[in-house]
């Protein structure tokens, strides 16, 4: 079963022809309407984030105390906050910050996790023991509290926030990668690479990582949503980003004071967070279904 979108896109050459691995993947994505929807929404969000300075009607930091706590109106589509700043502009610019931090954190933890997991799984023995214990230590702290501590030491700022969240996240990737490598290194194609004289690094890069990466990519996709939530949580607690950076969690936090008189100040940033998290969850679930050969995905809805 294919669907209309996929057929049309393929005819127009947007999609690779079937038969190739990538084409197969794209076909399965297009079969699932939920993923198609989430993908479209993600592209929309990414576009908005990219062009936010052009799209936003006001300066997100322009204070206008005469118009504070306004509800949605023609002048301000989503209303204004307690300092009279335009909420729509702040949410648009905020998308940019949230998405870029989330991608940065996931990228850093993915890279560190893959490196650590490969080393632990492939070399085993003492290396494995050491790395695994470090992973255990990092996994034993509750994430937000750990990030709070690091932020408390480092001070607020976009880079520090990325660093703090990466420190919290990487261990999960490392553990997953280690398990993957452990099962892969016993496979015959790894053995035959060894017999043909390949070095360790070559085997890891060529044979182990490409076969182990799928579950990590699923985790990374779902994690993008989690990281956005964590950023919001930290900002809500007042330790994430400086006050002048428009960020969804900080906006929620500021809006909660006026929950009774101007609920839109919490509703709209909250909706934005929810949307992004749901989009990444759907994408992550979908990718898992497609990449998991034991589970025929696609006909869930």
């Amino acid at each position: 079963m294919d669907n209309v979108f996929a057929d049309r896109f393929r005819r127009e050459g947007f999609l690779p022809q079937l038969g190739e691995y990538g084409g197969e993947f794209a076909k399965r994505v297009f079969q699932r309407k939920d993923m198609l929807f989430a993908l479209a929404a993600l592209v929309l969000f990414a576009g908005v984030a990219l062009f936010a300075p052009l799209l936003s009607p006001y300066d997100p930091n322009a204070i206008d105390l005469k118009n504070k706590n306004l509800g949605p109106s023609e002048g301000h589509l989503l209303g204004t906050d307690y300092l009279g700043r335009d909420l729509l502009s702040r949410i648009l610019i905020g998308a940019r910050i949230s998405l870029s931090i989330a991608f940065g954190v996931v990228l850093i933890s993915l890279l560190v996790g893959i490196a650590a997991g490969c080393a632990a799984g492939y070399y085993g023995g003492l290396v494995d023991e050491c790395i695994s214990r470090v992973i255990d230590i990092f996994l034993s702290f509750p994430g937000v509290i750990f990030a709070l501590t690091i932020m408390g030491v480092l001070g607020s700022g976009i880079f520090n926030l990325m660093l703090a969240l990466s420190v919290v996240q990487w261990a999960r990737y490392a553990r997953l990668m280690r398990g993957q490598v452990l099962s892969l290194k016993k496979q015959e194609f790894v053995l035959s690479a060894v017999t043909s004289g390949a070095g360790d690094f070559h085997i890891i890069r060529r044979h182990i990582v490409p076969n182990a990466i799928a579950p990590l990519l699923v985790l990374a996709t779902i994690d993008l949503g989690h990281v956005i939530l964590s950023i919001a949580t930290l900002s809500f607690l007042g330790i994430g980003l400086p006050a002048d950076v428009p960020e969804w969690g900080a906006m929620l936090s500021a809006g909660k004071e006026f929950m009774r008189t101007a609920p839109h100040q919490t509703i709209f940033p909250g909706l934005a967070i929810t949307f992004v998290v749901v989009i990444f969850s759907i994408l992550g679930d979908g990718i898992r279904d497609i990449l998991d050969p034991h589970h025929e995905g696609g006909e869930m809805y």
């Binding site: 015959e188 060894v194 043909s196 060529r206």
Partner: protein, 313 residues
């Protein structure tokens, strides 16, 4: 001229309090240009010998003895020197062709990789590999290179692996159970393949198998292994037509063509080996001597055999 000399090779794996004696005091030579077969039932230690040759055994294995390849002691080589021998001078055709190709890479990339690693011009190497693939009855090799391993049949994968392992013209090719899990037709193809490799390339081969037909077609000399030991070693035709050791006789009688007569009993525990001959509990000719003294391998009628009976009679 011996290309490979194995002396007193023993391999043990620690297990609980004792240890599993997978291979005990195996010695044999492989002459240059010959095809040497190792046959025996599952778990007789055949594959362990093959893996020991390339030092591919797990780290917990306790290995003793000497393996001398073209005048070099394999057990004393540094890892970097060992890597130069692996693949280039000794190559191993793995047991299971389905698992030996990386499912995430296209075939062409995997073949090219072998050359890449050796610093040989990739185009030249590929040309050679394509020629080899054609010779090994693979049609349209260029097209195969663009496909993934899962798009090939078992026999095709095996030939692809054969082409990969031959593309470096190794001095010694080790084939570990090349017909395992193949249907009769693909098996016949494999026999044809090995005959062809043998005749056209004149490679020295070590063939580890429990497929007596394949061994008969391809091998020049055969060693029969039982419970980690070589029990008989002779010319292939002599072993298969007039076996001397009772175990070899039983193995040949168990072949479907020869009446499918099973050997009674099971091979002994390898943690606690029986006293005397390891085979005496299952041997229909066993004498008192057999349960007392472990027989040494001795020359007998041009071959070597490990049995008291040959000398008692």
């Amino acid at each position: 001229m011996n290309l490979l000399e194995i002396r007193e090779l023993s391999v043990e794996f620690p297990a609980g309090e004792g240890s599993v004696k997978a291979v005990s005091r195996v010695s044999f030579d492989i002459r240059e240009g010959e095809t040497f077969g190792i046959i025996g039932e599952s778990g007789s230690g055949k594959s362990v010998v093959g893996l020991a040759l390339l030092r591919l055994l797990p780290a917990n294995a306790r290995v003793s003895g000497n393996i001398c390849f073209a005048g070099k002691e394999l057990f004393f080589l540094k890892p970097s020197e060992l890597r130069k021998i692996r693949g280039k001078r000794i190559s191993l055709m793995p047991q299971n062709p389905a698992g030996a190709l990386n499912p995430a890479l296209k075939n062409g990339l995997q073949i090219g990789e072998v050359f890449e690693r050796r610093g040989i011009e990739k185009k030249e190497g590929m040309k050679k590999a394509l020629g080899l693939m054609k010779k090994l009855f693979l049609q349209d090799p260029e097209k195969l290179c663009g496909l993934y391993p899962n798009q090939l049949s078992g026999g095709m994968r095996q030939r692809l692996i054969a082409a990969m392992s031959l593309s470096f013209e190794p001095e010694l090719l080790i084939a570990d159970e090349p017909t395992k899990g193949l249907d009769p037709e693909a098996r016949a193809g494999a026999v044809e393949l090995f005959t062809k490799i043998k005749n056209e390339y004149g490679k020295t081969m070590l063939l580890i198998t429990h497929d007596l037909d394949l061994a008969h077609e391809v091998c020049d000399r055969i060693a029969v292994m039982y419970a980690g030991e070589i029990v008989e070693l002779d010319e292939a035709s002599k072993i298969l037509h007039s076996p001397g050791h009772p175990y070899t006789k039983g193995l040949i009688r168990a072949h479907p063509r020869n009446g499918l007569v099973p050997l009674s009993g099971q091979s002994p525990s390898r943690i606690k080996l029986p006293e005397g001959c390891f085979f005496h509990e299952r041997c229909r000719h066993a004498a008192v001597e057999c349960s007392r003294r472990h027989p040494e391998i001795q020359n007998h009628k041009g071959g070597r055999i490990r049995c008291h009976l040959q000398f008692l009679q």
